[in-house]
């Protein structure tokens, strides 16, 4: 598909042949003689995807860190405008954050339901909560496992994935897919729970409580891991709020903010659970260890939520409220936010009265959480940069959409 008559592309300027004192970073700042620009390029075993970090280092100490994103940009928002039906966006929305697809679908379905003023049956709400919490556990398992690999411990990753397999089995018997589900539709669900789901979910809960303890013993309280992550990458509370950080990263900095409680949606107010806050037990409040332990404890809380929801599951028809025709009113717009695994996932939908949305803006939590990375890595070592970037728990396809 390459056009042979085109002239060769101009060579982009490289920084590596200039004299010291004349080297500039991408933002235009000149570096000093002692400093070196090094590239943690798009292909790297530990940047969790295609993220390019341009680091200015003085020896091993980081002076500045400039993230470059956009390697996975697919212009999700433009595609949504071309969709001929709001339901078709669901299948596309869960490809944004593929590690946590149920929460993506739920956020969009919620936004569309509020726009169309649809009330879903209670059974649908309970099942959605169960699926979202299972998905939260699965997503945190990936985060915890890959964080172990970043710090050099290869084994917890595989243990975490054994547990994740059981969750994916639960999803598979429900909707047939393991990773990208297209399950939560606007107004309901695509399938009801199969008959063996409740038994299997209860077995999983019993099994997983012991596994959390084992993961904690292996990784979280390991002295070397604590030394690597405590007091590293500290995110102060006011910086976190100013940078609109959300999710476990915000709670790890000591801010008591959880959208399931503070901006309530669905039936979370009927269930008994607590948001987990970082308290600086091993170091300073807001360091990497705090974010890690917040994720581990959130998994336990999710187990409690799933247990209560399974016990209180009402009967009903999950497809009762699915609209035949989706035609919102003209000039209606809404912004709905939910607590996804990584933070505040928001959809801002403007409709113009036709069957396809006029504008959809997806506010991905990973995009916003990543923007605070330069602030918290300045002054640390390169080894700390890897762990800090890992503790933010980004998925590049949500950063880039």
């Amino acid at each position: 598909m390459i056009d042979p008559t085109m002239p060769p592309p101009p060579t982009l300027p490289t920084n590596y042949t200039a004299k010291p004192g004349h080297l500039k970073t991408s933002t235009g700042k000149t570096i000093r003689t002692e400093e070196m620009i090094i590239n943690m390029g798009p292909q790297h075993p530990s940047t969790h995807g295609v993220l390019r970090l341009e680091i200015v280092v003085d020896g091993e100490i980081i002076v500045d860190c400039i993230p470059h994103i956009g390697y996975m940009h697919r212009c999700f928002e433009k595609h949504c405008e071309q969709m001929t039906n709001y339901q078709k966006v669901i299948a596309y929305a869960d490809r944004m954050d593929y590690c946590s697809a149920m929460t993506n679908e739920w956020a969009f379905a919620l936004a569309a339901e509020k726009l169309l003023k649809i009330e879903v049956p209670e059974r649908v709400e309970y099942i959605r909560v169960i699926m979202a919490e299972l998905q939260r556990i699965a997503s945190h398992l990936i985060a915890v496992g890959t964080y172990g690999i970043d710090s050099g411990a290869y084994t917890p990753f595989l243990y975490a994935f054994i547990d994740r397999e059981k969750i994916l089995d639960l999803f598979e018997i429900t909707c047939g897919a393991r990773l990208l589900y297209n399950y939560i539709w606007i107004g309901g669900l695509s399938h009801d729970l199969p008959p063996n789901f409740i038994e299997q979910a209860k077995d999983f809960i019993k099994y997983f409580r012991l596994r959390i303890k084992m993961l904690n013993d292996l990784l979280t309280y390991n002295e070397i891991f604590v030394k690597r992550t405590a007091k590293v990458g500290v995110l102060p509370k006011d910086v976190a709020i100013n940078y609109a950080v959300s999710g476990p990263q915000l709670r790890g900095s000591g801010v008591n903010w959880d959208l399931r409680r503070d901006d309530p949606y669905s039936i979370y107010h009927k269930l008994d659970w607590q948001p987990q806050i970082g308290k600086g037990e091993m170091g300073i409040v807001g360091d990497c260890w705090d974010r890690h332990i917040v994720r581990m404890r959130e998994m336990e809380q999710s187990l409690n939520i799933i247990e209560q929801a399974l016990a209180a599951l009402p009967e009903g028809n999950v497809k009762a409220a699915i609209p035949k025709r989706i035609r919102p009113e003209k000039d209606a717009e809404i912004y709905v936010r939910t607590e996804a695994s990584r933070g505040e996932l928001g959809y801002y939908i403007i409709s113009d009265g036709t069957a396809s949305p006029f504008r959809v803006k997806a506010r991905g939590p990973a995009f916003v959480n990543l923007s605070v990375l330069p602030e918290i890595t300045r002054g640390g070592l390169i080894a700390d940069l890897v762990l800090t970037a890992g503790s933010i728990d980004i998925v590049l396809s949500e950063v880039d959409r």
Partner: protein, 347 residues
């Protein structure tokens, strides 16, 4: 060893023969250790590995070696060609010469010099030069980081290694590793880790200090060979293989070979100094020149297994924490041990 010399009158041929014996041993042993590492790692991680080539994958290491042998040899354009080509071989030389002074058995030691332990530490530092050359010559900033970190780490961990060897020398009175092993002959109670063949009072007082010294020597040796938890120079998550990044094919195989040979070397040193080398733990049951090789290899292999176990369980330390451990924890404790052992031996 002497009977080989009487068999062939020519001194040169004898030397060549004796110096290729460790090479054959290294090659065979690396295949075994490679297989062990992969299988042990797999079982720690709750999975199985290597089930297809041969019964339960025993032929896999040979397949790996064949693959590495036939790969294309890529040298980056701007790399320093001479240093780039020399580096893996110098790193391997550093590992290989140490085999000259390891006492495999009561009748075999490559070179029975009176400076065995000293030679070990000195010649073993060739590896540092090799790694620095690899890091610099690759013309890659990440390799440079790996090389510099590795140089700093290995130089600073040579001090605890040398001091721990000094303690053993104080007890035995000789730097010759064969003499040290003969000193510990006679059953498990005579091993230096339990105080050595000394009267009971001295033994009891020495035992805690020799135990500490043994642990410190083991930890410092793991750091010397760049294994987790001290493998920052080749930290896969940060440096994409560190100094190894630009190497492919046979040159990469040389680095790999020297890393696994180092595993065994370090275990062998620890075993000869502290755990009786080739002497049998049961006084004269199962002892003799050929049994010596069996005991030596078995004991060293146990420590190789322990190193593999540590690698797959623990996270890795950061560079400045590494330095902290070496200079502020291991070295002061060794000074205390030297003082204590010296006092106990004099009294």
């Amino acid at each position: 060893m002497e009977f080989i010399q009487t068999l062939l009158a020519n001194q040169l041929i004898v030397s060549i023969l004796l110096s290729t014996l460790p090479l054959i041993f290294i090659n065979v042993m690396v295949l075994v250790v490679l297989y062990t590492e992969m299988k042990v790692a797999a079982h720690i991680q709750d999975r199985v590995a290597y089930m297809r080539t041969g019964w339960h994958g025993v032929l896999q290491p040979i397949a790996d070696m064949l693959k590495l042998l036939q790969k294309e040899d890529i040298i980056p354009t701007k790399a320093d060609k001479l240093l780039f080509r020399m580096a893996p071989f110098i790193a391997f030389i550093g590992t290989y010469v140490v085999y000259a002074v390891l006492p495999f058995s009561s009748i075999y030691i490559g070179s029975n010099i009176n400076l065995g332990a000293f030679f070990l530490v000195a010649a073993g530092s060739f590896v540092v030069i090799g790694i620095l050359m690899a890091g610099w010559a690759s013309n890659n900033k990440w390799s440079l980081f790996g090389g510099i970190r590795s140089a700093a780490q290995m130089i600073s961990y040579e001090i605890p290694t040398a001091l721990a060897i000094v303690i053993v020398v104080m007890i035995t009175g000789s730097l010759n590793l064969q003499d040290v092993t003969k000193f510990q002959d006679g059953g498990i109670g005579n091993w230096i880790i339990f105080g050595g063949p000394l009267p009971w009072a001295q033994k009891l007082m020495l035992m805690p200090f020799t135990l500490i010294t043994f642990l410190i020597l083991f930890v410092a040796s793991i750091a010397e060979v760049n294994r987790t938890p001290f493998d920052l120079p080749e930290a896969e998550s940060e440096l994409v293989q560190g100094y190894n990044t630009e190497y492919s094919g046979m040159r990469f195989a040389m680095f790999y070979l020297s890393e696994y040979a180092n595993l065994f070397t370090v275990s062998a040193v620890v075993v000869s100094l502290f755990l009786g080398g080739w002497s049998s733990p049961f006084n004269s049951f199962m002892s003799g020149p050929l049994w010596g090789i069996f005991w030596f290899v078995t004991k060293a292999y146990t420590f190789v297994l322990i190193q593999i176990w540590l690698r797959w369980t623990l996270p890795r330390l950061r560079v400045d924490q590494l330095m902290f451990v070496s200079w502020k924890v291991l070295t002061p404790w060794l000074f205390v041990c030297i003082l204590a052992v010296g006092l106990i031996l004099v009294i």
